[in-house]
């Protein structure tokens, strides 16, 4: 058997393609849900960390440090295999989303915090001096400027979350990788794995290029 028909077997690929596409949808579903929940959670944590009292700030910092340190695979396995022992039984989908969101929120919080801290003090002072409440200072003045700064690192984080969805295959989630390994076993040929790898690349390469482009643009100076 030559290399080409082993790794790039077109009939096997065509046969497994519908299965891979289903997997891709699952991967995107897990990724998008976790990214959105992580963004909301991260923004919330960042604001708490910056402006809440010392106790809450310390708790938030603890959360961020713990979830940036723990390996995602370990967390996922704890959520899926250990939590049932205390009566918390999450489906593979929600186990994956929970683990990814907990970690993504920790990273996102640090990104937002850095973005907010990068806004000059004068912006806070000028809006406070006008009598704007803390809420409007954030929503009208600080966050719109901070979000521009954090788009490149946030996009980077999205890439990481999407890549990490592949770990969901260990909790029997029929994501892209899981579908590919099953198709490989069925066809006794590794082509579906190559197919999955190519699909991951098609999904993520444009985002990687986009981040590079943004970083170049931002490094040239603002606006």
């Amino acid at each position: 058997m030559d290399l080409f028909s082993t790794f790039f077997n077109i009939p096997v690929l065509m046969q497994s393609l519908p299965q891979l596409m289903n997997g891709l949808l699952v991967t995107i579903g897990i990724g998008a849900t976790s990214i959105i929940a992580g963004l909301i959670g991260g923004l919330f944590l960042a604001v708490l960390r910056l402006y809440a009292g010392p106790v809450v700030t310390a708790l938030v910092r603890g959360y961020i440090d713990v979830f940036r340190s723990i390996p995602l695979l370990v967390l996922l396995i704890i959520v899926y295999y250990a939590l049932p022992f205390v009566g918390v039984r999450l489906s593979p989908f929600f186990s994956a989303v929970t683990a990814l969101t907990l970690v993504s929120a920790a990273y996102t919080a640090e990104i937002f915090r850095a973005g907010i801290e990068a806004i000059p003090k004068g912006q806070f002072e000028a809006s406070a001096a006008l009598g704007l409440s803390n809420r409007y200072i954030m929503t009208d003045v600080i966050l719109p400027q901070a979000i521009r700064i954090v788009i490149p690192p946030l996009t980077n984080n999205c890439i990481n979350v999407l890549k990490d969805t592949a770990l969901a295959s260990v909790v029997a989630m029929p994501d892209l990788l899981k579908q590919a390994t099953q198709a490989q076993a069925l066809a006794a040929n590794p082509t579906p794995l190559i197919g999955a790898a190519v699909i991951y690349l098609i999904l993520l390469l444009p985002m990687v290029r986009y981040v590079a482009h943004l970083e170049k643009r931002f490094s040239r100076g603002r606006s």
Partner: protein, 246 residues
């Protein structure tokens, strides 16, 4: 002298070991134009930044604006709504057009309608001579233009008091005049103004009262004539000598 609008008593401010303000007592009348002069580090900016509580001050200090105590809490936004501020570095919101910069606070704080806020903003921008640039973003405007927008932004709240924190110190020399002209016009409108400045000509011409500060204390206060022509204190004389005779 009319009833004081701003009352400051025993205002103390420290930064660690350093005392920035040594128990200042000061009353500012409704409609008064007060210029605060003095060397760098004399505490004059700190003084006016305490009036709207951009700087927290020590316990035992007291400031009231129109009878409302200045302290953290729900009253503070109310005080700030009545006290406009113009900064040395303009601090316009770079992500909003000039017009939006001026409209924001009336809409959010005064709950004014979009249409009314826009009308007011355009009128004010016309008054400070920036109407043509209303729909631009602040970045391409010159420093003088940005500072005039910042004045319009503060005026849009119709404040009782305007604080100016060295409003011309960051400007190129040829732009100082256009900002001072706007401020001179304002001084005639009855709004209370507290101006920290190095522009002695402006202080002499426009101020009702001049305050000379040094080392975190008020050294001398009086009419422009008293301060500039017949300063009583040695430190005032030295300062004026240094800034005027060269």
């Amino acid at each position: 002298m009319k009833a004081p609008l701003i009352k400051i008593s025993n205002l103390r401010k420290t930064y660690g070991q350093f005392t920035a303000l040594h128990g200042i007592d000061l009353e500012i009348a409704q409609g008064e134009v007060l210029c605060v002069v003095g060397p760098s580090g004399s505490g004059k900016s700190t003084l006016i930044r305490c009036i709207n509580h951009l700087e927290a001050f020590e316990d035992g200090s007291e400031i009231t604006v129109d009878g409302i105590p200045v302290r953290p809490g729900p009253d503070l936004d109310q005080v700030r709504a009545e006290v406009g501020m113009v900064f040395q570095s303009f601090n316009l919101f770079p992500h909003m057009t000039v017009l939006r910069n001026v409209m924001l606070a009336p809409i959010r704080v005064r709950k004014m309608s979009e249409a009314d806020a826009e009308k007011r903003a355009r009128d004010l921008l016309e008054k400070v001579g920036i109407s043509v640039q209303a729909d631009k973003y602040p970045a391409p405007l010159s420093g003088g233009q940005q500072q005039r927008v910042a004045i319009a932004r503060a005026l849009a709240m119709e404040p009782r008091v305007l604080l100016f924190d060295e409003p011309t110190s960051a400007l190129d020399p040829e732009m100082v005049g256009e900002v001072l002209d706007v401020m001179k016009k304002l001084a005639g409108t009855g709004v209370t103004m507290v101006v920290v400045t190095h522009e002695m000509g402006f202080a002499r011409q426009v101020a009702d009262r001049v305050l000379f500060m040094d080392g975190g204390a008020i050294i001398e206060a009086g009419t422009p004539t008293e301060i500039f022509d017949a300063p009583k204190e040695e430190r005032t004389r030295n300062f004026l000598h240094a800034v005027l005779d060269h």
